[in-house]
Each structure stands twice: as structure tokens, then as C-alpha cells.
Amino acid sequence: MLMADVLDAFQLPFVQRALVEVLLLSVAAGALGTWIVLRGLAFYAHGVAAAAFPGLVLADGLGFSPPLGAFGVALLFALLVGRLSARGRSGHDSLTALVLVGALAVGIVLASDVFHSAANVETLLFGSLLAVGPGEIRLAAVVAVLAALATYLLGRRWLAVGFDAGAARALGVRSPAADAVLLVLIALAAVATLSAVGALLSTALLVVPAATVRLGTRRMTPWQLGTVALTAFEGTAGLWLSFQTNAPPGATIAVIAGGVFVLAATARVSAGPLRRLLGDDAAPVAAAATLRGGR
């Protein structure tokens, strides 16, 4: 295929808008995705995006700004989870699951029986990247700037608390504010991804690329830069492929992201035996010696 064919699709204004949206979201997802993976917040990220769904339905039905409705509900969810985790209660995973199911159910009931907007449900759940407008792009830009800024300013604290939560207070991270900012930013980023990939697929941008790059990096900065680049690549590729095949863009991006993760994980798993085969890895020998030396 000629490069000109590939570029052809990006001549169209609505595809260009979608591309800008995807690239802005890559910055937000690259900065926040690494923290989501590092701090074990993947399920929270999925939950907060799903929780935004009834907010979207309400906004759609009552005629106010959808991001506002989504963010209102997502913020409520973030504060609830933040409060519970600050109290050190275990099991907020099950709470996330409960709220997630409840939110989806309420959203569906509202859409089908209250506002009779069932036709929009699919768009709300899986996004409509090719239909984004200036409002959505502005939101993505704001979130990208906030995410990069917060990472720059608060990253060291997020890292220290994740590394050793027990020592956080002694190290001088006395207030839970830094972690609350992280939870709220993730909620905001989840809302921003709704227009592109929808409530159910937002982790395709927020979690999967960061988890993929994590397999091959050992430091925060290369991990973050790599995640921004991979998200941008997967988003652009998904956008182009969906344009060519007429498949929904959100799902196409999710499939590409999942596929790249599987490839990266397979490469990493098979790298170990390969090194052993080549004989330049003493680790298995040492491990065997430890096993023999043990009881």
C-alpha cells in the first residue's frame, strides 16, 4: 500500500479532529497510565469510567453538557473510593465492582425507560471518535496539560507512597491530598476518553499501553515517554484502520492495544528461555543452587 493512501484518510477534517483528540489523550494517558499501573488503580480507572455512564445519559436526556454530567458522577465515585482507601479499609475493589455494575444498570434503565435514548447507548458505551467536536478536544487538551503538570510536581510523592506506604507519613507525605489529586485526575482523564473510546473501553487508552511499556522499562521517565508514544501510535493506527474497515474506532483501538500487549508479553516470556539457551544468564543456576541449599 502506498503512503499516499495511508495519508489520504487524514485529509478529511473529521479524521483530523479525531487524530488531534487521540494525540492529546495520549499525553494524558501516558502520564496517568503509568501511575494507574504502578499504584494498582487499573480497576478503579475502569470503574470510574463506567460510573460516568449514567452521568452521560442524564446529560443527554436533560440537555446539559455531557462531560459535565460524566465528571460530576465520576468525581463522586473518586471521592468515595479516596475516602475509603484513606481510611485504610481493605476491599475497595469489591466496592468498585458494586458501583460499576450499579452505574451501568442505572444508565441503561435511564436511557431505555426514562429518556428513551437507547440508540445513543452504544455511542456512550463505546465512544464515537470520528464525531468529536471542539469541546471534546478542549477537554482533552486541558486534561493533557493537568496530567503532565501533576506528574511533574507530584510524581515523586506518588512514587514514594507507592513504594512504601507505611513510611509515607514519616517521609513527610502527611496529607492524603497528593493521592486525592491522582484519583480526581484519573476520573477527569476517564471522562475525557469517553468521547473517543467510550465508558467501557477507556482502559484501552488509560491502562493497556502503560502495562505494555512496563514490560520493557525499569524507570519512570522512559516508561512515561514510551507510554505516550505507544498510545499515540495505537490510537492513530486504530483510527486509520477503523476508517478503512468501517469498524468502530474505539473497539479498533482496543483490539490493537490488546494485540500489542500480547505480543510484548510473549516476547518478554520467550526472552528468558532464549537467553538461557544462549548461556549468558547465570540466574537459573543461582536459583537452582538456592533451592538445593534450602530445607
Partner: protein, 254 residues
């Protein structure tokens, strides 16, 4: 001279009921205090109270100085994308406003602390790739960067080979000689005999004092419950031995 840590009638716990009570002890500057007790005896709970994670349910706890902590190794920590230098730099958070990132001065301090624990060459190495003893020393370096006057170590000698353990022990002696107070949770009663005082915990304080007077058979029996046996010794003195916890729980098949 006032104590670095002072507990009076202290009770701590996670809900309303204390898991550790009747704690009365003081940690003076320059002292190494061994904290002995069975698993679940309250060693970690006491440390969490000292770190400000748990509030006293009763009594008083005075902590006069910053606490540095060397926690036990957790699997998740070994996966963390941080270098030894990054970990040492975590000690600088308290010293600067939230909007400032660590600058050149902070990096110098962190490198100097790694140098003091003998790890300057490994500053850029990933934390999880270091040996057990080296990881403990990186965490000691973090406490040094914090300018911690009190250093808490949770089972720091577990899993270390003899050479690493000796090196860590020498480092702790050095920290104490600078006037820091060192609290070391351990299972090794013999090792604790070399320190200045011992604090024996089993859901409450059993005893506190210099090891020679404190570590009597009665105290050890009360501290460790049934997991203690007397061994006949060749020089006429009897030796006490602790059974590792799992020997009490189940039989091993060969």
C-alpha cells in the same frame, strides 16, 4: 537528656480493641534496642504507631525526632521502577515544598548517603536487582537523607548471609554512635544480647531492660509462649532455643 522515644501506658490497635497494650519504655540517643516477640506479638504494630500511622488508643507516645524506617522486603517493592538513588531521594520529600522537585543539592545528599552505606557505585542500579543486604542499606541511606534521629528496622537480618549481616550490624553500631536511636525488630534472641536493651512484646510488654538481666527464661517463656526449649550445653550452661513458628504448626514429611 530527654529520650528520643517515650511510651507510657501505651495501647495501640486497628479498631477499638488494642492489639498491643501496657507498653512503657524509652529509647535514648545512641541506644540500640532489640524488639523481641512472636509473629503477631505487636512488633510491627508498635512501629506503625511510631511512624504515625496508628494513633494511641490509650496512654502516651512521645516521638522526639524524625523516624526513618527499613521495612521488610515486599514482592511489589522489588518490581518498582526505581534506582537506589531514587529510593534515597525519597528521604528528601519532607525537606522541600510540594511544588519543588529534588535539585542538585538533594542529589548530592542522596549520593553521599549511599556512599556512607557503601553503595555509591550502585546508585543507578534498579532497587529490585540489588541483593537483600544492599536493599536494606539503601533504605538505611534513605533514613540518613531524612536526617532521621530514630531508625526502625523490621527483621533486617532475615535472609541475609553472614557477611551482609555483619556489615549491616556494623552500620547500625555506627548510626548509634552518632547519637541516633535504633529500634530493631528481630527473632534472633542471641543477636539481641549484644545490643543495649531489649523490649519483649507479646500483645503487651513483657519486659524492658538490658539484655543480660532481662532475657531470663521466664521472660522468654512469656514472650514466646510454648515455642521455647532448653538445650543441654557443653560448658555447663544451659542454652535456650526458639522453635521456628512452623514447627509448632505442622509436621514435615521427608
Amino acid at each position: 537528656m530527654s529520650a528520643l522515644v517515650e511510651a507510657r501506658g501505651l495501647a495501640v490497635g486497628y479498631g477499638a480493641a488494642p492489639v498491643l497494650g501496657d507498653v512503657d519504655f524509652a529509647l535514648e540517643a545512641g541506644e540500640r534496642v532489640g524488639v523481641l516477640g512472636p509473629n503477631g506479638g505487636g512488633k510491627t504494630t508498635l512501629f506503625r504507631a511510631l511512624l504515625g500511622e496508628l494513633r494511641p488508643l490509650a496512654g502516651e507516645l512521645t516521638v522526639a525526632g524524625r523516624c526513618g524506617t527499613v521495612p521488610q522486603t515486599e514482592r511489589s517493592r522489588l518490581d518498582f521502577p526505581v534506582s537506589a538513588l531514587d529510593v534515597a531521594l525519597m528521604g528528601t520529600i519532607a525537606g522541600r515544598p510540594w511544588w519543588r522537585r529534588p535539585g542538585r543539592a538533594e542529589r548530592r545528599t542522596a549520593r553521599a548517603a549511599l556512599g556512607r552505606v557503601g553503595l555509591e557505585q550502585l546508585a543507578e542500579r534498579t532497587f529490585g536487582e540489588l541483593s537483600g543486604g544492599q536493599r536494606q542499606r539503601v533504605l538505611v541511606a534513605r533514613a540518613l537523607v531524612q536526617e532521621a534521629r530514630i531508625v526502625l528496622l523490621d527483621e533486617p537480618f532475615t535472609g541475609l548471609d553472614a557477611a551482609s549481616a555483619e556489615r549491616l550490624e556494623a552500620l547500625l553500631d555506627e548510626l548509634a554512635s552518632e547519637g541516633r536511636g535504633i529500634l530493631i525488630a528481630t527473632h534472633d534472641v542471641d543477636q539481641a544480647r549484644a545490643w543495649d536493651r531489649v523490649l519483649c512484646l507479646n500483645r503487651r510488654q513483657i519486659a524492658f531492660g538490658p539484655p543480660a538481666e532481662t532475657l531470663t527464661r521466664e521472660v522468654l517463656a512469656a514472650t514466646y509462649g510454648g515455642a521455647i526449649v532448653t538445650l543441654p550445653a557443653e560448658d555447663g550452661r544451659e542454652a535456650l532455643a526458639l522453635l521456628p513458628p512452623h514447627h509448632c504448626d505442622h509436621e514435615h514429611s521427608a
